[in-house]
């Protein structure tokens, strides 16, 4: 259970993060907003992979589906608050469909099934020029404006995105604190036993994919309105790998794991840019080192520390 002190610390961290961009240049604000966008997607993926134990290498595809629905919808003149649930519901439905292979195959076979899905979606985005603009993409995507309040500026848009990120995280917290969270964990730990105890593994497997996908769909909507120009590259399967990396590096199945993991995939490469040509090599080395020494993710450090203290 979260103690009051932990709750206070989390509130303080959120408040500090909300204020931080005031002191940053526009690129810094952009990075903070991008961090929020990927947080929504990685929190969703953590539910699918970390809590329910269903391997997925297709999260970037859902991010892309959400982004394209938002881009097309907003360019068409639909209000943001209509486009947002449209993207979430569409990704939920596609996620539900992608969950069906998980009922037949598991682990690396499932990883390849979802990877294939990501490649398929990527090819559709690249080749269906009439709808997606192909490699030329869709430009001039408007920023949201709600009840006459425009979120066009970098700072208002950051706060707007942060608000929705907190909503997504709050919904997932509520969901995982309900008996559903325990059922997802049962599905992950031992599906055969879970089924013999009445856990509807078909329903929970499909829901794990669908909810994770819906989170990425919401993230995609914010991605499109953040960059205001989308093309297929950010939805390549390599970004699914990066998001999976974020979940694992942060601590798969730990609620706040994606926060640290997303820092690693979004912010760390930026901080390492001063190394110029070496930065990707150092980034890669840092990830390898983390996987070797902290297979339980960054959030497993306190547990390991206390286990060592207890052994003394």
């Amino acid at each position: 259970m979260t103690t009051n002190l932990q709750k206070l610390a989390m509130l303080a961290a959120v408040a500090a993060f909300a204020v931080l961009p005031v002191f940053l240049k526009s690129y810094g604000v952009y990075l903070c907003t991008l961090f929020c966008v990927y947080l929504m997607a990685t929190f969703g993926l953590n539910l699918t992979v970390g809590y329910a134990g269903q391997m997925s290498l297709g999260q970037a595809a859902f991010l892309g589906i959400g982004a394209y629905i938002a881009a097309i919808g907003l360019k068409f003149g639909l209000p943001f608050l209509i486009v947002l649930p449209m993207a979430a519901v569409a990704c939920f439905a596609v996620g539900l469909a992608l969950g069906f292979p998980a009922l037949r195959v598991q682990h690396h076979y499932l990883a390849f099934a979802t990877l294939g899905f990501n490649i398929l979606v990527y090819l559709l985005m690249r080749n269906e020029e009439k709808v997606t603009g192909g490699t030329f993409g869709i430009s001039n995507i408007p920023r949201p404006s709600i009840l006459g309040i425009s979120f066009d500026g970098t700072l208002p848009f950051f706060w707007f995105t942060l608000f929705f990120t907190l909503v997504v995280i709050g919904v997932l917290w509520w969901l995982l604190s309900s008996p559903w969270g325990r059922a997802f964990a049962a599905l992950r730990d031992n599906p055969i036993r879970a089924e013999s105890l009445g856990v509807n593994i078909t329903a929970y497997t499909l829901l794990a994919f669908a909810i994770g996908a819906a989170c990425a769909g919401v993230a995609g909507t914010f991605f499109a309105t953040l960059v205001q120009f989308i093309e297929p590259a950010p939805f390549h399967f390599s970004w699914s790998l990066m998001m999976l990396l974020a979940v694992i590096v942060g601590g798969s199945g730990r609620f706040l794991g994606p926060v640290l993991g997303t820092v690693i995939i979004v912010l760390l490469p930026e901080w390492l840019r001063f190394m110029q040509n070496w930065y990707l090599a150092v980034f890669g080395f840092a990830v390898v080192a983390l996987m070797i020494w902290l297979p339980g993710g960054l959030l497993s450090i306190p547990e390991r520390f206390f286990a060592k203290e207890g052994a003394k």
Partner: protein, 250 residues
């Protein structure tokens, strides 16, 4: 032969893997509140019989009735909804959940609907019942620990306690004493007797520990090479010459 009221009725169940007959025409009946033991050497088809009854595998022929309903080939999920529980030969706990959460997870899916559980309290209203079960199985000192961090014997107790959490009408226990130290075996016997009294469910128990099964089960069935070799009160089965030759020895 005495006639016992039927609750679970297994009729001429067969399961073949190619030319190998794992279960070869086994019939078995279990009455309400009755505890039936199944003994036999390794490879005699006991677990295959369990898996055929419990929907883990589909029998080649024969049928299984529970409370008058044909449940042959039903999925474990459908069977659990009808009040049929089980334990497995190997440990099957949720290693990353605490002991208390393991017990709650074992029964929460029987409370309300899938949608309703999303809005339910975290313990689905089962906290008190889980605490009672923890008390019954003497697991209070480890209730807050993750099941995967506990000893084999403790996990075995959790495993069995989980099967009883939803108060099933019928429980099939596959080698509950395997790998459990002798002091825990006695404890396990007492817990099962108590649960049989309080919950009133029927048990079918596969076990190699003869003292345990003879003490627990008023009716025993011995399987050898997929067939029932002898059936009856424990003392009778234990004294059966064919059972002595094929399984128990002199």
């Amino acid at each position: 032969m005495t006639t016992r009221p039927s609750f679970l009725e297994v009729k001429d169940v067969r399961k073949a893997y190619g030319a190998i007959k794992a279960v070869d025409g086994v019939s078995l009946s279990v009455g309400p509140g009755e505890i039936v033991g199944v003994i036999g050497p390794n490879g005699s088809g006991k677990t295959t019989l369990f898996n055929s009854i419990l929907g883990q595998i589909k029998p080649t022929s024969g049928n299984v009735e529970f409370c008058g309903e044909d449940i042959t080939g039903m999925s474990p999920l459908e069977l659990s909804r009808r009040g049929v529980g089980r334990t497995f030969q190997t440990l099957q706990v949720f290693t990353h959940l605490t002991v208390r959460d393991n017990l709650i997870a074992a029964a929460q899916e029987f409370k309300g609907t899938l949608g309703g559980r999303l809005f339910a309290k975290n313990d689905a209203g089962l906290g008190h019942h889980a605490d009672e079960m923890i008390e019954l199985f003497r697991l209070k000192h480890v209730a807050h620990l993750k099941a995967g961090t506990l000893s084999y014997g403790q996990q075995k107790l959790i495993d069995i306690a989980m099967a009883f959490m939803p108060a099933p009408r019928l429980v099939l226990l596959d080698e509950p004493c395997a790998g459990v130290n002798p002091s825990l075996v006695d404890q396990l016997h007492d817990r099962l007797v108590e649960l049989n009294k309080t919950q009133g469910g029927s048990f079918v128990v596969i076990e190699h520990n003869m003292d345990f099964i003879m003490k627990l089960c008023p009716h025993v069935l011995c399987m050898v090479e997929g067939k029932v070799l002898a059936e009856g009160p424990p003392a009778e089965v234990q004294a059966n010459r064919q059972v002595l030759e094929a399984y128990l020895g002199n």
